[in-house]
Amino acid sequence: MKILRIRLHPFGGVADRICDLHDGVNVIEGPNEFGKSTLNNALWHGLFTPTNLPPVGLKKAMGRWYPRPGGDHSRVTLEFESDGQKWTLQKTWGAGASSIIQSNGSAAIAEPAKVQEQLLALVHRNEATWRHVLFVGQAQLARTMQELKEQSKEIDDIQPLIAGAAAIPGDIAPDKLVAAIDERIEGHFSRWDISTGGPEKGKGIDSPWANKIGPQLAAYYAMETVRRELKYVRSYEEQVDEVNTKIIGLQSKIEVDRDFVTIGRGLKDGLASRGGLEEKIQRLGGEQTALKAVLVDWPGADKVISGKKAELEGLKTTLQSLADELKSAKKRADAEQLRLAHGKLVKAREAWNAEVTKLSESKAVSAESLAELKRLEKDISDFRIKIEAQKLSAKIESATPTSVMIMRGTGAPEPLTLTAAEAWEGQADGKLIVELRDMKISVESGTGDMNALFEQLEAASQRRSESLEMLGHESLSSAEAADINHQKCVRDEKHKKELYTAALLGRSEEEWAVEIAALEALPETRSVATLETEQATAVRNEAKLTFEIQKEQEKIINWTTEHTDLDTLMTKILAKTGELNAAKLELDGLPPLPEGFNSVTDYLAVLREKEGCQSEVEDKLSELKIEQAKLAGGAPSHTAEELRDELESKEREFQRKQAIGQALLRIRARLQEVVASSGAGDPMQGLASTVAGHFKNLTCGRYDEVKLDGATPVEISGPLVLETALLSQGTLGSLALATRLALAELYLDGMEGFLVLDDPFTDMDPARRRAAEHCLGEFAKQRQVLFFTCHPDHARELQELAGAKVPAMAG
């Protein structure tokens, strides 16, 4: 970029001024207040200060450049060339704020942000680069020199100025930034254990760290202190609640019996006397009653004894008759058992007789007869099987109706009617005989002697019929059933006979008949149980009467011993009555017994118990009130509600501190990445040799070498070898200018641009200054330089030695 024209209209104290600039060095010379600084600032703000700043920011940045008095805006118009194209920029700040930029023939841009965006593209380097590298104010140059001088022993600070990338104003050496962040982290987390997320060595608020407490721990302690206080206050309030609850409980308890005990204490003495008198009256009354009873009983005592004795005699008679009846009753009870046994005997005999009858009616079949019958039955069966095996088939036909008789096997003759239309067909076992009038046709099986078989069958059948007839049975099965029945009758008869023998109980039938006959003579009685109960009652009554008679007799003896006679007894009764009346009179004068009590003793017992309880409760109450007073004395100055609010605030503060701590850790990690990724490819690395070259020119070749120890400049070499710490003010100025020129070359390498210098030669001797002017002339062959000075001789020399031109000013 090359600046062609700057117009201020208005800006600061300038109402309207145009400054047309040239290529190479432009020297703007004038005394103080001439407006050099105004022009410099107009150029800067024109390029870098947007017109749409918020009010506060605008006032801060541009307020001083509004015309005084009463100016409400400032305006700058710049014309410049960039990449071969001409541009016009106009900015107005304050009232009527606007930005507009336009290149030849293209559309204007008027939106402030877009104008700024376009400008940044045209100036190529960022605002900071321009501010720190290409706009070199006198103060900045002086500061560079000051740093070189004052901090020459601090390698970290000198090194970057000479050695490379960190030589850029505004840059910081990695070690220094790392150290600063480490220091901030260390400070922030001082006495804080990041790994445990708590104070180092677990030193909480009970044993806190006393010094070097970082913000995070301080916030933690503050938070925990309030939390502890809140906990204490809550606990305190709970204790107070608990004590109060107990006090209220005890007070209610006391209140329940308060009236009773208060009244009772007033009555106690009187009631104690009443108690004694009541007991006395009760005793005297009892004694009087007893004497009166004696007076009533004594005269009739003999009569009572006589009556009881008569009653006793009658009772003895009754007992005798009961004993007799009981004896007969027991005999009748025994006879009843005998009758029952005899009944059983009769039944057993009848059952046995029935079985004997059955046995006599059943017929026995001999084993031989049964065997014979079974053999015949088998033979018959065998013969029949053989005959049935010789089966014949026959067919009889007749041309005319004819009647015939047929016999098949051993079967009976069968009549048969034949017609011409219907023949007869049939079968026969072994033999078929057909009889037609006079004619008889016999047909036999030809495989054996069928006649012999038929005869054997006939003979066996005959023999079986005879045997059955003799036995009186129709069949073999009937004979077998009769035999089984007979065997059962034999067994039953034997069993019943045994039962009968057992029922005799070792006696004969005759003996049984005699005993049964004797029973009929016994008299009628009540049951044994009834009689025994009645007898027991009578015995008890007899004993009781005997005892009562004895007691009555003893009473008479005692009365006589104690009271001598009835007159004496009467005298005693009168005396006792007098004593009793006197006691009652005394009692009437005493306080009455409260309601709900039967005796003074009961009342006093309850009163004592309640007094004891009251005393115990009052003791406890006293203790609690002491505790309550102690608690009240130690009442916290804040309530739980107040502390809860404070704790919330402290918790938020602690969270903020935690967030800052985490941010610091992230920053350190990021810085480590950035530092690690910087290295050999650093574009600033060639800066050291460039600085050395400019330094040689600026010192007229006096110093041609900068010696580094590693990356650290330790000395400069020329006719003298000097440690950097010993450099003069002028040499330092040269070194600073060399650095500035080198940086400008580096940043403007391969592109258009300009350098602004504000009186950079002030501290140089004439020879060094001329060298610097030559040097600047060389620099300006490639780039535009705006050189501000208040020294006419500097301006003149620049025109002579560096080919500088004075810009045309109008207005």
């Binding site: 918020p54 104003p169 930034l177 309550q628 100055s637 309530t639 609010d645 941010a663 940043y747």
Partner: protein, 373 residues
């Protein structure tokens, strides 16, 4: 004609306001007395029969004797029948040795102020009403059990207006998760058989505005705000109860200061301007403003905000702020400060890439600038 009651509660006189500087604290302490004076004056203007304080007239048991006497002097100006002062959970009454209530009772001697420290009834008769109050004081600061149970067992005559006075949480109205504050249910209150309840404890008024008829209970809320948690201006209830069961009520505003907590996320100048407008809408000399600001702002915006807040500080009764605003440091901001290729330039660009921790770059800038200064 009907029974007229001015109902207040939770006045918390004697609260310490220890977190505030002396002049602010003095003003806030004084405001609590002033607000009470205003309530008494209102009750007198409206010819109230009773002024009922339903608990927590005092903030704590350790209120000074001087303060107690001053409070009684204020209440004693009431021209109606009685000022009925119930023991709440902050100013609980556990027995005759309670110093706070002993002093209060002594100070009340010969005045219309009547401390209600025992569960009891108080019956009064006017020209055209009979009213029986059922006092249910708190015997401790905390309790799982409410104190109104006995009211249900009391015989109630039909021609008397029955009014319960109690202090504690109402289920569903306030938060009492641990049930530590004499928790009452509506069923408990309804079961007591009174016409209505005058309650204290919850600092938010009930019933809701616009409620008509005779509410089951009234909760006036704190009479003048005491912290940023109180978002209303301080209230009391004006209640007129007819013998026929009718009820007319009106919410009164009694507070003279406001506590306001403004939470704002600021991202640009417009939002700063909105904040300014919001702040200017407050009655600044009578407002304790607590700003909780978050967000991201550019350097000049942050500067604008700080200037705004600095300017407001003297206008408000008190202004506090918790500010967690990250200064926006965008590429342009870095470019303005650090030439290309420099370590700060690289580091800040690297940090900007982590969008989830936008404040990191600003913190790093802060460290870098300390090295430059």
């Amino acid at each position: 004609m009907s029974l007229r009651i001015l109902h207040t509660a939770d006045n918390h006189l004697g609260i310490s306001f220890a977190q505030y500087p002396d002049p602010v604290r003095d003003r806030l302490l004084e405001e609590r007395f002033s607000a009470l004076e205003r309530l008494v004056a209102t009750a007198n203007q409206r010819d109230a029969h009773f002024l009922v304080v339903a608990g927590d007239l005092f903030d704590k048991q350790t209120v000074t004797k001087g303060q107690i006497e001053r409070i009684v002097r204020i209440l004693a100006v009431f021209e109606g029948e009685h000022v009925l002062v119930l023991a709440g959970n902050h100013d609980y009454y556990e027995g005759a040795d309670n110093k706070l209530w002993r002093w209060f009772r002594n100070a009340c001697d010969g005045t219309c102020v009547l401390p209600l420290t025992d569960p009891t009834t108080k019956e009064f008769e006017g020209d055209d009403f009979r009213v029986r109050f059922y006092a249910c004081p708190c015997p401790s600061k905390h309790s799982k059990e409410h104190t109104i149970g006995w009211v249900a067992d009391t015989d109630k005559e039909s021609d008397v207006i029955h009014v319960g006075i109690a202090h504690g949480n109402v289920e569903g109205l306030g938060l009492d998760a641990d049930q530590r504050y004499f928790n009452m249910s509506e069923e408990d209150m309804r079961g007591a058989g009174v016409h209505t309840w005058l309650l204290g404890h919850i600092h938010v008024p009930a019933p809701a505005p616009g409620t008509t008829g005779r509410p089951l209970y009234f909760m006036p809320g704190i009479h003048t705000p005491d912290s940023v948690k109180c978002s209303h201006p301080g209230h009391a209830w004006w209640i007129e109860l007819g013998a026929d069961g009718s009820c007319r009520h009106e919410q009164l505003t009694s507070g003279g200061v406001r506590f306001v907590r403004l939470r704002r996320s600021l991202e640009n100048s417009t939002e700063i301007e909105n904040l300014r407008v919001a702040c200017e809408s407050f009655d600044a000399p009578n407002t304790v403003l607590d700003l909780q600001l978050t967000g991201r702002l550019k350097e000049e915006e942050l500067s604008e905000l700080n200037q705004l807040l600095d300017g407001m500080k003297s206008r408000f009764l008190h202004l506090t702020r918790e500010q967690d605003i990250a200064q926006v440091l965008d590429a342009a901001g870095i470019a303005r400060r650090f030439p290309d290729g420099t370590l700060p330039n690289k580091l800040l660009h690297g940090l900007l890439a982590d969008e989830s921790n936008a404040g990191d770059a600003h913190l790093a800038l802060d460290i870098i600038e300390t090295l430059h200064s």
